[in-house]
């Protein structure tokens, strides 16, 4: 039998370019901290290896592993809660052989897989009972992440499941009623569920100048960084907002502002184009996947990915309140990066493994 390599050059090239750009931006954002860049490079190499290996597996394997992975996710959360070190008042990490891993990341893989596996043979529209089973699993998963606490990841986890549920054929009346309830209960949520600092973040968004050195600082400085970049930017390593510490979190959540400041609108267009090509290719894979499971998995991943991207950029440009969510492939980070590579490994596996009939 002839050895076949399952790979898609468009996806591979996009991811490669994005992550190399990421290293490049990181070098500037960290003021030339070569150690941070090398560490990130190590993650990227590891990520690429995983990406390629995973793409070689037939999607059937992911289906089989789905429930097991979800179970493993919960187990990891328990282990984290017991053994994980507390950093800044949150327990999110597991240390293993010198490596730290953010345990909740696994949900981003296991929950959509589980949902797709559970829903792959269900009739349309999805029955009430199945809907509630799914919502229950999603809710539990998101909740275990939320109590760490890690609201940003918790939101992404919940959405990664909900998107699959939606794509699988969640009934429109159900969606309509749920939204209606959400809208009606929003004053209640505002008054009772949101913590004061969360409310402040939302209010600051509308009037950051009310507290320019406090809660409005990030929004104002980020806006200045982006706006002052102009068309072609200030040049690599020349961003004064970045290098004189006016921008917060330049290496992670606010890396987009660094790009905008140093490379301007042109740089922004280049990066967004890469994301667009990557998304279109993924959409193509989703539409042409060989079965419903594959469709749901790719679709769920894609929408979660787009949501993540949209939230990060909207936050950086000051359209939504500050939430801790990294920019895919560009923000510094190990766990989230590896997770992304795995997700796209699965996408590429699905995109390249066709049934005999399709071939």
């Amino acid at each position: 039998m002839k050895l076949r390599i399952y790979a898609d050059w468009i996806i591979t090239l996009c991811i490669l370019m994005l992550s190399v750009f990421g290293l490049f931006f990181l070098f500037s954002a960290s003021d030339g901290n070569i150690d941070a860049v090398l560490k990130q490079l190590a993650y990227i190499i590891l990520g690429f290896i995983l990406f390629f290996i995973i793409a070689q597996f037939d999607p059937e394997n992911f289906r089989r592993l789905a429930y097991l992975l979800l179970g493993a996710s919960f187990l990891l959360m328990v282990i984290t809660a017991i053994f994980g070190p507390e950093i800044n008042g949150a327990q999110r990490w597991i240390r293993l052989a010198g490596f730290s891993f953010q345990s909740s990341e696994l949900f981003k893989i296991s929950l959509p897989l589980t949902m797709a596996t559970f829903l792959q043979f269900k009739k349309l529209p999805i029955s009430m009972r199945d809907t509630f089973v799914c919502l229950f699993v999603i809710g539990i998963s998101a909740l275990t992440v939320a109590i760490q606490p890690d609201l940003g990841t918790s939101l992404l986890v919940a959405l990664s499941g909900l998107f699959v549920l939606f794509l699988a054929g969640l009934s429109w009346p159900f969606i309509g009623i749920t939204f209606g309830i959400l809208v009606i209960s929003s004053p209640f949520i505002w008054n009772n569920l949101l913590r004061p600092f969360q409310k402040e973040r939302i209010l600051t968004l509308f009037n950051p100048e009310s507290d320019p050195f406090g809660s409005g600082w990030n929004i104002i400085q980020s806006r200045i960084a982006i706006g002052s970049g102009g068309i072609s930017g200030k040049g690599y390593g020349e961003g004064s907002q970045t290098h004189f510490n006016f921008l917060p979190e330049t290496e992670t959540d606010f890396i987009f502002a660094v790009i905008a400041e140093e490379f301007g609108f042109i740089g922004v267009l280049v990066i967004l184009s890469l994301f667009l090509i990557l998304s279109l290719r993924t959409l193509y894979f989703g539409l042409n996947a060989r079965d419903r499971f594959c469709r749901l998995v790719v679709g769920g991943f894609l929408l979660t990915f787009l949501f993540n991207l949209l939230v990060n950029i909207s936050m950086v440009i000051g359209l939504i309140p500050v939430v801790g969510m990294p920019l895919p492939f560009l923000s510094k980070g190990g766990s989230s990066m590896i997770t992304l590579f795995i997700l796209f490994g699965i996408i590429m596996s699905i995109g390249t493994h066709k049934t005999l009939m399709q071939r």
């Binding site: 043979f121 009739k123 349309l124 998107f163 939606f166 794509l167 699988a168 054929g169 400085q221 806006r223 200045i224 960084a225 982006i226 706006g227 002052s228 970049g229 102009g230 068309i231 004064s240 907002q241 290098h243 004189f244 510490n245 006016f246 905008a260 301007g264 609108f265 922004v268 967004l272 998304s279 959409l283 989703g286 539409l287 419903r292 469709r295 749901l296 679709g299 894609l302 929408l303 787009l306 949501f307 949209l310 950029i313 909207s314 440009i317 359209l319």
Partner: protein, 606 residues
């Protein structure tokens, strides 16, 4: 699942993913629009904001202008001193650093404590901090050879405002002292940046407080320059990007004369009093000296509390500017002015003679006004009345005067108003009028008040600068140039009108005061090589009826008469006019006179 159902499911998926994708695309386009708005439409605003974020403008002091006398002698200037300046951010171990520095130069416990208190915040923001001020040459040398051990310290040049003659020009020049930075408004520099201003003076921001230093503060100060640094969000300074030079202060060339001022100081010899001399051609103040004096160097460079208390509590009031603010009865020195009035008003003439029995009896109530010589001066004409200073003659003349016309005339001669163009805090003296007396004492003007004014006693009070100005009008035969410190010709005030022959005879009479055998200041005649005109005055502080009574009064030094003289010379073409007041000096001719002569000599014989 049936084929049909699979088909339906696939369509449903496709629709939903496409709709979702389109929704995301729209949202991303909105985001892109927002980025376009920020980066293209309003980029300019944010560029400015980023620039003001990134830069920190620090005011940089320029050197203050120096003050010179009319011959180019430096009266007060800037002297470089050296401070040990440190950069706390570059000092690794504070205690070790202090210990090592202490080995080279002595540090007081207090200065170490002050230094340590400020150390951390200066280190955090990467600012400089002075450890020790005014290093000696030995200390500088000792530091320089070991400077490699102290990367965080250097010897910095700092200036001080120093006069070679610290007590000589105190009341003319005034002094500078440390000022609050809020006094200065520099465009483009927020007020909070002033805490990081770079000063060239050891005292930091200095401003003139009194005297010429105050009056010409603006031109002497120049304007601050700017240093623009890069700064990070935490307020740490990084690179110096740009230096914008300030305008250095302008030097000030004054009419003052160092030698004449020295002569005044020497002649007055610490007695309480004042000397003012005016250059007749320009109205320039050649001498303005008030005695006793104080050290402007101490005031400018941080005076100790003890010294300050001493100066303030000194009974001789060295801080009081007698030349500009001392109020003295002009006494007999006013007589030439009264004579001019009498001549102009046709109340008297050079030929008119009266008998002087030693007193004047007021016809209304028989009240007696006494002269200074018992028995009087016999038959007296105007010349003799001026030369020998007959009170009776001037009592009589004043008695005939109209008080409103008389005060008007005296006002033209400078009495009762401030005159100097650029003096600091000049007093107006007092020229009494009936209106003034009514307002002040709720009493009517008596004829006796006018009579008293005829000999410069009673309510009238003049400052030494007024007396000098008055003398300058006499010397200039009516031309009145307002006194000032400039070298150019001053502003002309209304001239005092009199006929040429009257002016000449006034000059002749006043010349006889010094040069004539019976003049009240004839002992001055020998003291100089040129001819001088003068009028003496002896201002009574206590009104007395007899010489015997004065002997009693004398026992209290502070009740003794003030000695006054106005003089001008050299005759016949006078160049300078001078006034001297010696408080409680008793004799205008004997005590004030020699001072005036020394000053005129220094000015004329230079």
């Amino acid at each position: 699942m049936q084929f049909e159902e699979r088909h339906k499911e696939r369509n449903s998926f496709s629709n939903r993913i496409l709709v979702s994708f389109i929704v995301f695309t729209i949202l991303f386009l909105a985001v892109l629009g927002r980025i376009f708005y920020l980066q293209i439409s309003t980029s300019e605003t944010y560029l400015t904001a980023a620039e003001s974020n990134r830069t920190y403008t620090v005011p940089v002091q320029t050197l203050r202008g120096e003050i010179f006398d009319r011959n180019g002698n430096l009266l007060i200037g800037n002297r470089a001193t050296f401070d040990l300046v440190t950069v706390p951010a570059q000092i690794e171990d504070l205690d070790v650093f202090i210990e090592q520095i202490s080995e080279i130069m002595p540090l007081s416990v207090q200065s170490i404590e002050d230094y340590k208190n400020l150390f951390n915040s200066k280190a955090l923001y990467n600012r400089e901090l002075v450890l020790l001020k005014d290093l000696s040459e030995e200390e500088i040398a000792a530091f320089q050879v070991r400077s490699f051990r102290f990367p965080g310290a250097f010897v910095g040049k700092r200036y001080r405002r120093i006069s070679e003659y610290p007590e000589l020009f105190s009341h003319a020049l005034g002094y500078t002292s440390r000022a609050s930075a809020t006094f200065t408004n520099l465009p483009g520099v927020p007020s909070r940046n002033w805490r990081d201003a770079e000063y060239v003076y050891a005292s930091g921001l200095i401003n003139g407080q009194i005297g010429l230093e105050k009056i010409y503060n603006e031109s002497l100060s120049g304007s601050f320059g700017k240093k623009i640094y890069e700064i990070d969000a935490k307020g740490r300074l990084h690179n110096l990007i740009r230096i914008i030079d300030g305008k250095p202060g302008e030097d000030l060339y004054t009419s003052l004369d160092l030698n004449a001022q020295l002569a005044a100081q020497k002649a007055i010899n610490g007695k309480r009093g004042a000397v003012v001399a005016i250059h007749l051609a320009t109205g320039g103040l050649s001498v303005l000296y008030s005695s006793p004096s104080f050290s402007i160097n101490e005031f400018a460079n941080g005076i100790g509390q003890q010294t300050l208390d001493q100066v303030i509590q000194d009974v001789n009031k060295p801080l009081f500017n007698r030349a500009l603010k001392g109020r003295y009865p002009p006494a007999s020195s006013i007589k030439p002015a009264i004579a001019l009035y009498g001549l102009n008003a046709n109340l008297t003439s050079w030929d008119r003679k009266i008998e002087d029995p030693g007193y004047f009896k007021l016809p209304e109530d028989g009240r007696i006004y006494r002269g200074w010589r018992k028995g009087g001066h016999g038959t007296v004409d105007l010349t003799k009345a001026l030369v020998q200073s007959s009170n009776t003659y001037f009592f009589d003349l004043a008695y005939q005067s109209d008080i409103d016309q008389l005060t008007n005339h005296l006002a033209n001669m400078g009495f009762g108003k401030s005159l100097c163009i650029d003096c600091f805090d000049e007093d107006q003296g007092l020229l009494p009028t009936p209106e003034w007396k009514y307002a002040q004492y709720n009493k009517g003007w008596f004829k006796g008040d006018t009579v008293n004014m005829g000999v410069g006693q009673g309510y009238i009070l003049a400052t030494p600068i007024q007396l000098a100005y008055y003398a300058s009008i006499l010397a200039n035969k009516g031309e009145a140039l307002l006194p000032h410190f400039g070298l150019e010709t001053s502003i002309q005030a209304t001239a005092v009108e009199a006929s040429n022959s009257n002016w000449s005879r006034i000059h002749q009479a006043l010349e006889l005061v010094v040069e004539g055998p019976s003049g009240t200041a004839n002992r001055l005649s020998e003291l100089k090589s040129f001819k001088v005109a003068a009028k003496t005055g002896t201002a009574e502080l206590v009104s007395l009826d007899s010489k015997e009574a004065y002997a009693e009064v004398r026992s209290d030094v502070l009740q003794r008469d003030h000695a006054i003289i106005i003089a001008f010379g050299p005759l016949p073409n006078p160049e300078y006019a001078v006034s001297v007041v010696i408080e409680n000096g008793e004799s205008g001719g004997l005590v004030a006179g020699p001072v005036a002569i020394e000053v005129l000599k220094a000015l004329i014989e230079r």
